[in-house]
């Protein structure tokens, strides 16, 4: 009897161990998947280039050299988030006088990796003395510039382009080419300021 009991116990133990062994020592093989998502970036920056005419230079300091500017144009780029792109642009045009003209370009370059578009813009002008009344926008053109410098004219009004196209691809620029002239009725000793903001989104959500 003792022998039977002992054998039964042994058999149960073997079965239990077998089951446990089956549970822990099954054959197996693993599959591995490594996934990486690299997101793009929305990045835009200002560029500005403008000239005052040579007639703006005089010999103001009497050194015999006609190299002193009467009106001055100062441009400052501001990189708010230290990403290497200028989000801010400060333009100061001082000591302006009648018949002065300024020509140049102001553009927004897509320095990111996905296309962007203009989501919103706003501006505020302070001009208590009517300086703007003396400014003649002789010529203002918008065009797109590709990364190789190629020019692609925007043949529709810019408001229509924003409503219908509104896409600046990576490396491309939206350029505004201007030629302005200060007329004879430009007020003396006056100041006018403009503050503007343009918000850009990834193009597919516009």
């Amino acid at each position: 009897m003792e022998t039977k009991k002992l054998m039964a116990t042994f058999a149960i133990l073997m079965i239990a161990l077998g089951i446990a062994g089956f549970a822990y020592a099954h054959w197996s093989e693993y599959l591995y998947l490594n996934g990486t998502v690299n997101t793009g970036s929305v990045c835009v920056e200002w560029s500005f280039d403008a000239d005052l005419p040579d007639s703006n230079l005089k010999d103001l300091d009497g050194d015999g050299e006609v190299d002193d500017p009467v009106a001055t144009l100062n441009v400052t780029f501001v990189d708010d988030d230290d990403d290497g792109c200028a989000e801010g642009l400060i333009i100061e045009l001082d000591n302006v006088y009648p018949c002065l003209w300024v020509n140049g370009t102001i553009d927004v370059t897509n320095c990111g990796t996905i296309p962007v578009g203009i989501a919103d813009y706003d501006y505020n002008i302070s001009d208590p003395n009517g300086v703007a009344d003396g400014i003649w926008l002789y010529d203002v053109n918008f065009y797109l510039q590709d990364p190789t410098g190629g020019r692609h004219d925007i043949t529709m009004p810019i408001e229509q382009w924003i409503a219908q196209v509104n896409q600046i691809d990576p490396g491309w620029s939206l350029v505004c080419e201007f030629f302005i002239h200060f007329e004879e009725d430009t007020p003396e000793g006056a100041t006018a300021t403009i503050e503007a903001e343009i918000e850009f989104w990834n193009w597919n959500e516009l």
Partner: protein, 165 residues
């Protein structure tokens, strides 16, 4: 046991749904964006000039000249040292902008062939260069002469006009 099973499946389901909803909401409101800003200022200059120094030849002894400044010398001091006529020069700031824009010349007790000379300096107190376009002589009612080039000699008939402005 049933409640436990339900709760075991319900909690992850709710969490999953919440995450999906949040993702959708986040997708909707968290588009990528960047804002450019621009501050532009235009300051216009000022054309302004002023008289700063004025002086005259007659500071005591009178001077005389021939009619039409003929002869050499064109003018000379009174040989007897007489001091009959004199001038009064006054710089005025007529528009109260801090600049003397008016030179008031008063000739007192002058007489035929009395001669004097008025000199003055002008200073560009504005911010841009200027050129003299013309010299305008006016009396109290009208312009009596304009000169754009040459030396502006003006013959003034003083009959009845003691003050010229």
């Amino acid at each position: 046991m049933t409640l436990l099973k339900k709760s075991k499946t319900a909690v992850p389901a709710i969490a999953t749904i919440t995450l999906i909803v949040l993702a959708i909401v986040g997708f909707t409101y968290a588009h990528w964006s960047e804002t450019l800003w621009l501050n532009g200022t235009v300051n216009t200059g000022e054309l302004d000039w002023e008289f700063i120094v004025a002086s005259c030849l007659d500071v005591g002894v009178d001077y005389h000249c021939n009619d039409g400044f003929v002869g050499i010398p064109p003018y000379w001091p009174d040989p007897e040292g007489k001091n009959i006529g004199w001038q009064e020069l006054t710089l005025q700031d007529s528009d109260s902008d801090g600049d003397n824009d008016t030179l008031l010349i008063n000739l007192h007790n002058v007489y035929p062939s009395y001669f004097t000379e008025i000199r003055f300096y002008v200073h560009n107190c504005g911010t841009i260069p200027l050129k003299v376009d013309k010299v305008i002589f006016r009396n109290s009612t009208h312009v009596v002469g304009e000169f754009r080039k040459g030396v502006p000699y003006l013959r003034l008939d003083l009959n009845g006009m003691a003050n010229l402005t």
